[in-house]
């Protein structure tokens, strides 16, 4: 993994967690910090965009159903911004394979708009090992893309 210049030596990378549920934010940020990541969080999509610009995360973990704007709207904004479209996005949501509005439909919706789909989808409750492994992989992928 290649970290950019000026990053703190102990950080494996910067992750922004966007979720309107403080419990999820607390959980994910604690989990990420425990695994050596620097974190920032936002409670909605607008704040998420603000933090994206200020914090320059290597990865964004976001929920879909949030008040005001959804994760989908934020994904759209990110993908349309040439400076931000390279940031990997992981959706962390209670939508699953069995629920009606599944990841599959979400991907169709996104593909229908000609948008690059989210880089990963993680179903709640999360598998911590898989989550950390995926975070590591996506940050590595992001670094590749940035190079």
């Amino acid at each position: 993994m290649t970290l950019e210049k000026g990053e703190k030596a102990f950080s494996k990378g910067r992750v922004l967690v966007v979720d309107d549920e403080p419990d999820i934010v607390e959980y994910l940020t604690t989990l990420l910090q425990e695994n050596g990541y620097e974190t920032e969080h936002a409670g909605d999509a607008d704040e998420g965009m603000l933090k994206t610009r200020g914090f320059s995360p290597h990865l964004i973990c976001m929920d879909i159903m949030m008040p005001k704007k959804t994760g989908l709207a934020m994904l759209r904004t990110l993908r349309r911004d040439p400076g931000l479209r390279q940031i990997p996005v992981m959706l962390v949501t209670a939508f699953g394979k069995t629920s009606d509005f599944s990841f599959v439909q979400l991907k169709e919706l996104v593909a229908g708009e000609g948008m690059t789909p989210p880089d990963a989808c993680m179903e709640k409750p999360i598998d911590r090992n898989l989550f950390i492994e995926t975070v590591g992989r996506l940050i590595g992928k992001g670094a590749e893309a940035r190079r």
Binding site: D20, E21, D23, I24, E26, Y27, L28, T30, L31, E34, M65, M66, P67, K68, K69, T70, L72, A73, R76, A94, F95, G96, T98, S99, D100, F101, Q105, L109, G112, E123, K124, P125, I126, R128
Partner: protein, 505 residues
Amino acid sequence: MISRELKNWVREKLFLHVPVNIAVIDPEFRVVEANDAFEKTFGEWENRRCFEVYKGFTRPCPECRAAKTFSDGAARINQEIGIDRSGNPIRYLVHLFPLVRRSDGAIPYVIEMSTDTTLLSELQERYHVLFDKTPCYIAIIDREFRVVQANRRFRDTFGDPSGRFCYQMYKHRDEKCGNCPAELVFTTAHEQSASQVGLDKDGVQTHYIVNATPLTRTPIGEVETVMEISFDVTRTRLLESQLKQIEEEKIAAERLAAVGQTVSGLAHGIKNIVTGLEGGLYVLRTGFKKSDVEKIRKGLEMLDGNIARISHFVKEFLNFARGKKPEVRMTNPNAIAREVHALYHEAGKNEEIEVALEMNEDIADAPLDPDGIHACLANLVSNALDACQMSDRKKRLVTIRTLERDGTIIYEVSDNGIGMDAEVKKKVFTSFFSTKGSHQGTGIGLLITRKIVQEHGGAVSIDSTRGKGSTFRLELPRSRLPKPEKEEAANRIGCREQGAGCEKQ
């Protein structure tokens, strides 16, 4: 004077001018005399034999009636087919009678008076073909309920009716049916129709729709015979019952699917809570590991909060499963719409979504469960706001509409949000989105909406196009609304204060 002239005219001219073909035949079948009409119909007759003139034969007809009259002296009437003067076939009715009987009993001449019945015969034939070939059962029934005439289709299906009663024919019964349409026609003289189940000649059940109508009347105007035209609907009925069965199976399958979907919706709601519990435990452990009191406090707080959430969730779900009885009272349908609009107007504004209200002010009070309908509308508006949020559109709009059409009260909630495709539309009432945040819910909102609307005898429908938006419609026919529990005027409005008592927001 006049009477003598008349007598002469009758004697000399009537024979010639009467519009009936008259020919006089001798025992050798020679035509010895004929009138103008005969010549006009059959042509030249002098010095010819009757079989030559009538039929173009060279020898006497095989069943010669004249020969019989010559031998027994009896008059006869017979229907014949011959050839007219132009060589065309002609049907004629012929009356034969002996002319003079001498003392020795011999008959020198037979008079044949014939009438052209070609046209009549054709009509008759056409009528018979029509009657026989009509692809439905036709029976003519007299006042004693005897089938006096029946067409081929009837005879093929129910058997030969000669002398038998209609109830024997149609139903293999020994006495008149209770709901006899023919009897009703005899008594009312008006057309009747009925759906019947009968037995064909082999005892197989036959479904038919019978139309009974007066056919002939007695001189005093009573209905003398009734014509029953019946259409076989056995196949239709069979298809109908198959269709009904399929429909029932489909409903059962849908119900099962709905249960499955509800469980999946339930699981969806629980997932969030389980994540919260897991997170709380993880944060708590991390706190212990690092002796971080703040983390320990936070972890415990998360556990507490999610335990409270799960108990609320279970209560709400049980409420739905058990079903709260609707409390129906006379309510102004628009008042509910106004309340819900007031409730979501501000919320929409915060998210840059306009929530509009369009009401038909003429809608009269109706027996409704105001809390129930309020919950339905609130659910729909909340979903509409979510649909708008997902959308990228600049002007996002949710419209709450009330109208009344043909005695049906209609609530509509339209949005110009993301819309739904057919697949999602089908499943929308089972689980669909579980939303949280400002429109917090457990994902059973639409299930509850449908249940409440059904309890009001109404239905929920959806028009939706992906990318364009959706309209959810609650249709409540007044005729099917439940009876109000209390009808006091004091409860007329019956809606709570604005914003109060709403479990959401």
